[in-house]
Symmetry: C2
Subunit: 238 residues, 2 copies
Amino acid sequence: MTASVTPLRRPRMHDELSRQLGAMIVNGDVAPGETLPNEMSLCEQYGVSRSVVRECLRVLASKGLLVARARVGTIVQTPDHWQLMDNDILSWMESGPALEKLLKSLIETRLLIEPEAAAMAARRARATDLVAIESALDDMALTEADRDAHFDADFAFHAAIIAASGNVIFGQFLGVIRKALIESFKRSSRRTAQRQVALPRHTAVFDAIRAKDETAARLAMTELLDEARKVLFAEPET
Amino acid sequence: MTASVTPLRRPRMHDELSRQLGAMIVNGDVAPGETLPNEMSLCEQYGVSRSVVRECLRVLASKGLLVARARVGTIVQTPDHWQLMDNDILSWMESGPALEKLLKSLIETRLLIEPEAAAMAARRARATDLVAIESALDDMALTEADRDAHFDADFAFHAAIIAASGNVIFGQFLGVIRKALIESFKRSSRRTAQRQVALPRHTAVFDAIRAKDETAARLAMTELLDEARKVLFAEPET
DNA sequence: ATTGACTTAATTGTCTGACAATTGCAAGCT
DNA sequence: AGCTTGCAATTGTCAGACAATTAAGTCAAT
């Protein structure tokens, strides 16, 4: 198994702190326009040195969450400055109205991007691309019992199709797609039936791509995503 | 005029250094997999303290350009790790094969996103949204002589439509769209006629949105972008 | 010869303390 | 009122030290 070979490095303090402060900001615990405590206060508050605090603030600023100005402090930016496609920011976002809005916008966008990606894959896919897609599909079938493994396979499926499309901008969506998939799995956790419904839809996409049928690929992907939308935004099961 | 009211803060050293190192990486002056000189060497090389170097490297790492590991050094990541939608990274990219590839992918993506944004604007636009779009359009008409001002107006036009769509993910495209527009203006610099051709196409989009005609808006925007594609990828004029 | 434990050294990670640069704000002057 | 000027708070930069991590070498045991 080549799964989960993450280097497993010990967390570094500035990463931890970035995560904490970043999460506070993107989850609205501190309002845009407010100024954070000054660097020294943060040092005391979190028990770290100023180097750590500064490197952390610098990172958050570079992602559009903050602006720092001498004498006035570091100010939380309004959400329209946030780089929402940044993988860190996405990983910091917890369930809440902000995430909900993001997911709604995202599914609209995916419905534009991914069917086209599937069509392009049907047109240009090389053998190795097809192998990657099929392998992900096989993994999905094999892992219906294991939620985490099934999740990885599902994500790999979408990633492989986008990779086959050859569009580098599409590739930038993998982070948000992953986030959407995480939420989707959370919300359908109790319905194991969901996965059995999902599999044939994925298979249909792959079959169309392998057959080089652009129109069918586009359609199959659209249907798959429509299903995903229902799972994400359906009334919670009673 | 409310144009160009940028606070005009003096550049800070870590920003300068980020720009330099970041540009070197995204423009391929240093190959993925290579390790940068260690922090002390960079200090000497650029005549700055280690704080500056570290904050800079930390930022670049957070954008996916680098990974730093104790004892082994900071290694340039492969381009598929780069957060291409990041505004800084975009601003660092100079003309070259990488930018060309990005622009090709981008125009494909814009042709999916922006016509739909126009259609959504036609459906949901409020009065203030319409004012913003029309105002940008007026500015375009008034600034045909002034290249920079015309650029600002053109960008504002696209931004206003995307804002009116109400989709936050679409909003994340403004950075890349801006970059595409910059290149577009560079390449059509000598053809002043281009601007006279562009204006009616923009007007058509606005008219459709104001008339709440989704289909017409979608179509007009598609035609506008097709024109833009021609400008960007046409053979250089002889 | 391969493995495993130990040492070494190079590099990033963190801490501390200092000073420079920026700038909101208030006091004082005209 | 309007302008200038100095103060002080905060970020920005510098310097030097030590801690933690870990690639690579050394050496012994099997």
